[in-house]
Structure formats: structure tokens, C-alpha cells
């Protein structure tokens, strides 16, 4: 029998019971579609996390203090607390190339909040950051309109301010018109030097509802002369983040005379580590989704087996007739295998089509990113499913003795 004849016979077999074939195809397409979509969702969420973390700045170390060593008690402002407070001198020391050669730049950070007013318009700025110009490049916070303040501005406590997108929009409607204007922050006049580029949210807070001022100005006008909230340290390169972290720890431990018996009071978060951890998490997540999807593919495959078994049983007499007319074992085998494979492949194609459409939309807040190999894999697996799951019923059909098949009721 030529391949074309075999294909014709298989197609006729499939169309003989359209609804049943359709439902089987549906089972397989759900399996295949699920594999592609879920892998794309896993991949997409991994990409999203990576993008957000990269937006936060790479090679970044954020140093903060947990307050006291060992027996830290919340709310208790003991001497230990003050001993471990981060100071501007710490920041200066960390910036010293001799003491910490793997550190590229350092920005001390103090935060406060306050109400900004422009004439009659007022806006509560959640986060007023006092820092130095190094903060902007280190944390990947470029100034979009206007310009940043300079070290000279810091040194002379200039009353200049950079507004986040939300703050600028709230106060001036058009962010571009903010530059050069004067606003009040609390009771103090500030000149707007620039507007920060918009940032994607990495958490619950709007990262654009901020304002940045020179740290000296913030201390003088808002936050007083207390401890720094954190020190932002940029390592000199991606491969030097770990050594920079070690240098920072060592330097701070020495400067604050932390006893060797105590656990370090300094908490250093490492953006590369967070990135790595979230990528690992995303990979696990993707694997989990893929497993779930693979299970549904297997279930679809069992559907193919089931239908082929029913078909073979139902058509046993037909198989007997075919054998009486000279059909050989492999001809019968071929016909049923092709039927099973066609069911799976059509299901696979429909599944791929559906997945291509579904992955254009956001799913559970994630924009799926297709993994091309998952399409090939899903199609290959669905063909294999047809062959594998179809072969058992097909062998059963082909192995029947003609008379046994013919006598079948």
C-alpha cells in the first residue's frame, strides 16, 4: 500500500467518527498548548524579574545596619545602636581606593518624607532621598529632563531638588515645565534641577513618587544629623561584586570595632545575588509549570490510546475483512499508527496555534515569552505520543488472526 493510500485509509478512519476524533484532538491540543503556554509564562516571569532587578542597578551593594549586634532589641536605643550607626565618614572611607579597591563609587543615603508645594498645588512625597550625585548612576536612576546636582551642590548644601515622574506630574502637570521652577518642601524653597526618568515598579511603592536632594541639604533642612539609612556601593565590575562586599564588611567591622564574637550588625544586599536567586527561582518555577504541562500531555496521550483501543475493538470485524482481502500485518499496523499519529499531530498543531494566540496576552500579570524550542518539543512529543500510545492498540489490531477478527461481533 502506498503512503498515500495509507494516509487516505487513516483519514477515512478518523472522519468516520468526527466527534470522537475531535475530542481526542482536543485532549492532545490542551496538553501541547499547556506545555508551550506555561513554559512561556515561566520564562516571561523570569525575564520580568530580571528586567526589574537590572533596572535597580547591577553591581550594586546596599549597606544598612541592623542596629545592634547579638542581643538586638527593637526600639531600644542603647549605646550599641549608636556604635553601629552608618555615618558619612563610613561612606567617605568606603570610597577610598586604597581601603576598598574593588568599590567604584559610594553614595550615602538618608530618607525622609515631606509635603512639596508649587503655589496652590501640594503633593506628599513619600520618599525624599538625600544623597550624593554618585547615587544616580549606581542605582540606575538617570535624570531625564534637566540635569543632576553636583558634588559642589552637596558641599555647599544647595537647595536644589530632582523630582520623580509622579512628583513632577502632580506638581506641574507637565514634567518638562518643572525644570527651573521653585517649589517648597516643608517650609524650605528648592529649585527643581531635573526630573528623573520613569522607573518600573519593583514592589508596592511607586518608585516615581520620589524626590532627590543633596544629602547635606536634607540634613540641614529636614532630617537632622542622625544616622544614614543606608550606603549604596557600586562594585568596580560584575566579577568584583563579591570582593567588594568582603572589603565593605571588613572595613565597617573595623571602623565600628565589632567584636569578633558578634554576628555582623551590617546587612549588605547584593543585587547580583538577588538576581541569581530570582533567576534560580524562576527556573524552578518554569520547571514546575513544565512538569504540570507534561502531565496534561501524557493525559492527552492516554486519551489517544483509549480512543485507538475503542476504534480497534469497534473495527475488529473491519480488520478481519481487510485481512481476508489480503491486507498484511504491517499494512493494518501502519493504518492504525498513522491514525493515532495524525490525531496527535493535528492536536499538536491546534495546540501550537492556540498557544501562539494565548501567549500574546498577559497571563496572571506576566507577559509570556515564547521559548521556540518548547514548540518543537511539544510537536515532537505529540507525534511521539501518537506513535507510542497508538502502537499498543495498533499492534493488537494487526496481530489478530483473520478468522478471530471476522467472527468478532
Amino acid at each position: 500500500m502506498s503512503p498515500r493510500d495509507l494516509m487516505g485509509a487513516a483519514l477515512r478512519g478518523l472522519t468516520a467518527n468526527k466527534l470522537r476524533s475531535l475530542l481526542t484532538v482536543l485532549g492532545v491540543s490542551i496538553g501541547v498548548g499547556a506545555v508551550i503556554v506555561l513554559v512561556a509564562v515561566g520564562n516571561g516571569s523570569g525575564k520580568a524579574v530580571q528586567d526589574r532587578l537590572e533596572a535597580m542597578g547591577t553591581n550594586l551593594l546596599t549597606v544598612s545596619t541592623t542596629g545592634g549586634g547579638g542581643g538586638f532589641v527593637r526600639g531600644q536605643a542603647g549605646p550599641a545602636n549608636q556604635q553601629y550607626s552608618l555615618t558619612l565618614d563610613d561612606a567617605t572611607a568606603l570610597a577610598d581606593k586604597n581601603l576598598a579597591p574593588d568599590v567604584a563609587s559610594v553614595a550615602p543615603v538618608m530618607t525622609s518624607s515631606g509635603t512639596a508645594t508649587n503655589g496652590d498645588t501640594s503633593y506628599t512625597v513619600n520618599q525624599v532621598i538625600g544623597t550624593t550625585p554618585a547615587y544616580m548612576p549606581a542605582t540606575n536612576t538617570p535624570v531625564q529632563i534637566g540635569s543632576s546636582f553636583t558634588q559642589a551642590d552637596v558641599d555647599t548644601s544647595q537647595r536644589v531638588i530632582l523630582l520623580g515622574q509622579t512628583a513632577a506630574t502632580e506638581l506641574f502637570t507637565r514634567p518638562a515645565s518643572a525644570v527651573g521652577q521653585t517649589i517648597k518642601l516643608g517650609a524650605v524653597d528648592f529649585t527643581v534641577l531635573g526630573v528623573l526618568a520613569s522607573k518600573d515598579s519593583t514592589g508596592f511603592n511607586d518608585p516615581n513618587a520620589t524626590a532627590i536632594v543633596p544629602i547635606t541639604t536634607l540634613r540641614a533642612t529636614q532630617a537632622g544629623y542622625g544616622a544614614l539609612s543606608q550606603i549604596v556601593v557600586q562594585a568596580a565590575g560584575q566579577d568584583r561584586v563579591d570582593t567588594a562586599q568582603a572589603e565593605v564588611t571588613q572595613l565597617l567591622t573595623a571602623r565600628h570595632q565589632v567584636p569578633a564574637t558578634e554576628t555582623s550588625p551590617f546587612r549588605i544586599t547584593n543585587s547580583a545575588q538577588i538576581l541569581q536567586t530570582s533567576q534560580d527561582t524562576a527556573a524552578t518555577f518554569t520547571a514546575l509549570l513544565a512538569t504540570v504541562a507534561a502531565i496534561s500531555l501524557v493525559v492527552g496521550g492516554i486519551g489517544v490510546t483509549n480512543i485507538m483501543l475503542v476504534t480497534v475493538t469497534e473495527r475488529t470485524r473491519e480488520i478481519g475483512i481487510r485481512k481476508a482481502l489480503g491486507a498484511r500485518r504491517r499494512t493494518i499496523l501502519g493504518q492504525f499508527l498513522i491514525e493515532a499519529t495524525l490525531l496527535s499531530l493535528i492536536g499538536g498543531a491546534v495546540g501550537v496555534g492556540a498557544a501562539l494566540i494565548v501567549t500574546r496576552f498577559q497571563l496572571a500579570g506576566v507577559q509570556p515569552v515564547l521559548v521556540p524550542s518548547s514548540i518543537g518539543l511539544a510537536l515532537g512529543v505529540s507525534a511521539a505520543v501518537g506513535l507510542f500510545f497508538g502502537s499498543m492498540p495498533a499492534h493488537r489490531a494487526a496481530g489478530l488472526r483473520p478468522i478471530d477478527a471476522l467472527r468478532h461481533e
Binding site: M1, S2, D5, R322, K323, A324, L325, R328, P402
Partner: protein, 230 residues
């Protein structure tokens, strides 16, 4: 052995099941049929006629005994070779027609030609000619459920004839047909016999058996009489 015998079986037995419940359908049957004979096999129901025909048609294997078909030992043929024999040398006609459902008359007739590896065009031509021969040229596109019993049996005959087999095996071919259709089918058998084919018809109807040239009577798995009637 005689080379001209198209069919020869020797001491063939067929037992279904084992022990207490064993059914001895054939209890040692020997038979020789020469090319071009027209043989009727008669016997009461359950006497083993169908069992005999299934063995002659290579649809079933004997429990014991030999079967020589066209001079070759069937027991030595592989599964595929037996399929080839069924496809090329033998045409089957069953009491219940055994057409493939939901498939047109033409496709049914084409089927054995497909298994004989004929090309599409050639298949079409031969299948149409066979259907023409049985007077169904205008019914080629009909499915079995759109045809009367007599028409279905004629499609089955066309299918049995399509590959031009030398032997026709018919198991109660007129059992489900009315008198008119029976006459038509028997008329075709006469023509085929005149054409030189070997025909073996199983029946329990005397007027069907009367058309044959030789009558073999079977009872309880044994041949009880074998005579040339015409």
C-alpha cells in the same frame, strides 16, 4: 501428488477449546478439488462447513492435517505469504456480505486491489469494471447502508472478483437474500464457472446446491458423501 489439484486437504481436523469442553468441528476431512470445479458443500447447521471454508481460505489453520494449495504447503507459508494468497488467489463471499461500513461500493471493491499494490488509476478502472459486471455501475458511490441486501452481495462479489482470483469461496452467499437476488447471484456463479474459475459454495439450500457440478455432504465434522451431480 497430483499437480493439477488446486486444493487438496488430507485428514484435516479442527478442535475448538480443550478437555471436557472441546468441540470437534472437523474430525478428519480429506478433499481434492481440481481447477475449474464447481462444488457445493451441504450439511446441517453446526456440521463444520464454515470451519472447512475458513481453513480452505487461509483464514484459519487446521489443528491437524495437511493443506496443499496450488501445490504448496500452506502450513509452511509465512503470515505475509498467506495474506498474499488470500489477496491474489482467493475471493471470499460471505453470508453477511462483510462490506466495510461507511465506505462506498467503489472503495470497497478497490480495497483488495490496493492490497495487491495496484496503482490508483488501474484500481479505479478494474473496480469500475467489476461493479459493471455485477450490474452496479450506477451505484459505485453508494455506501453499504444505502444498498439492498442483493446489491450488497453483488458489491461483495465484485470485490471478490476484482483481483481476478482463481478460487471463489462462498459461505452461504444467498442465506440473506430473497429468491430474485438468489437467482441473480447464482447466475453470476454460473458465468464464473463457465469462465473457468474454481467455485466452492457452502449452502443448506438444495436448489443452490443443484447448480453445482459436485456435491459434498458434511455431517458432524466428516464428509459423508461426495458425488458428481451433473
Amino acid at each position: 501428488m497430483a499437480a493439477e489439484s488446486v486444493i487438496e486437504i488430507r485428514e484435516v481436523t479442527k478442535t475448538y477449546g480443550q478437555g471436557e469442553t472441546a468441540v470437534h468441528a472437523l474430525r478428519g476431512v480429506s478433499l481434492r478439488i481440481e481447477a475449474g470445479e464447481y462444488v457445493a458443500v451441504m450439511g446441517s447447521s453446526g456440521s463444520g462447513k464454515s470451519t472447512l471454508m475458513n481453513i480452505l481460505g487461509c483464514l484459519d489453520v487446521p489443528s491437524r492435517g495437511e493443506y496443499w494449495l496450488d501445490g504448496s504447503d500452506v502450513a509452511r507459508l509465512s503470515e505475509d505469504q498467506q495474506a498474499l494468497v488470500r489477496g491474489r488467489k482467493i475471493g471470499f463471499i460471505f453470508q453477511s456480505f462483510n462490506l466495510i461500513p461507511r465506505t462506498t461500493a467503489l472503495a470497497n471493491v478497490e480495497l483488495p486491489l490496493t492490497y495487491a499494490h495496484l496503482r490508483r488509476g488501474e484500481r479505479r478502472k478494474r473496480a469500475n469494471r467489476a461493479l459493471e459486471l455485477v450490474g452496479l455501475a450506477d451505484r459505485t458511490g453508494h455506501r453499504p447502508n444505502e444498498l439492498s441486501g442483493g446489491q450488497q452481495q453483488r458489491v461483495a462479489i465484485a470485490r471478490a472478483l476484482a483481483t481476478g482470483p482463481r478460487i471463489l469461496l462462498a459461505d452461504e452467499p444467498t442465506g440473506n437474500l430473497d429468491a430474485h437476488s438468489t437467482d441473480e447471484v447464482l447466475g453470476m456463479f454460473d458465468d464464473l464457472h463457465a469462465d473457468g474459475r474454481t467455485i466452492i459454495v457452502i449452502t443448506h439450500e438444495h436448489d443452490v446446491a443443484a447448480r453445482a457440478r459436485r456435491l459434498v455432504q458434511v455431517s458432524d465434522g466428516r464428509i459423508v458423501s461426495d458425488e458428481v451431480t451433473r
